[in-house]
Homo-oligomer: 139 residues x 2
Amino acid sequence: MSTEAVEVTCVVQAFADCWNRHDMDAFAELFAPEAEFVNVVGLWWKGRAEIKGAHEFTHRTLFRSSTLELEEVAVRFPAPLLALARCRWKLSGHVTPEGEPLPPRHGVLLNVLRREGDRWLIVDSQNTDIIEGVVSRPQ
Amino acid sequence: MSTEAVEVTCVVQAFADCWNRHDMDAFAELFAPEAEFVNVVGLWWKGRAEIKGAHEFTHRTLFRSSTLELEEVAVRFPAPLLALARCRWKLSGHVTPEGEPLPPRHGVLLNVLRREGDRWLIVDSQNTDIIEGVVSRPQ
């Protein structure tokens, strides 16, 4: 793996590490100020402040004791200073809005990262739940 | 809107136009050979041939009479020759695997495009269904 691919992978790992510490200050610092984020139900957050606020809310509620594990990270560089990092993930320890435990779920997260000086910042994220056993979701 | 943003928007519109003609030859030509695509249930297709084959299958079945409408296209340029185009969409006219009609559904599609000579090619797509009324999908 190239040095650049290692650097990008470490940022994606930091995404999971901040999630698992529920440290949304550090989480937000992974993103560029103008970053956007679409979550697994299609909510579209614009800018680091919205991304941070939305995750602060879910990490006080649904995800307050959750653990995010990355199962695979694939990195590509479609242009200079620009990386696409896609990973499959497993989320466990999350609860319903009423606090009831839920079984693990899986998904696919795409992060787009841009090199800024000596750092890679996330400029875009889009997340999709994996629904087993179907080719699409007609329902 | 800049000339580049218009060009990128036209490629995204061509995605919908090819879908609506169910012309998967033309659809596939919008993608770079090494493009990847994650669909709304987290299936991860790698390369133009896999993307084409998967869409040929669904356009013979679930989507054979479906119509994809783009409701909003937002374009950003996080690096030279590289565009992020995100759109909300509405799908109607799709059916169950048994052929029964289904109500319209909505989603958010991210396309990453790279300038190649005088064209913009899609190098990555990730799609997410919109689930109304929730902040995540704990179930």
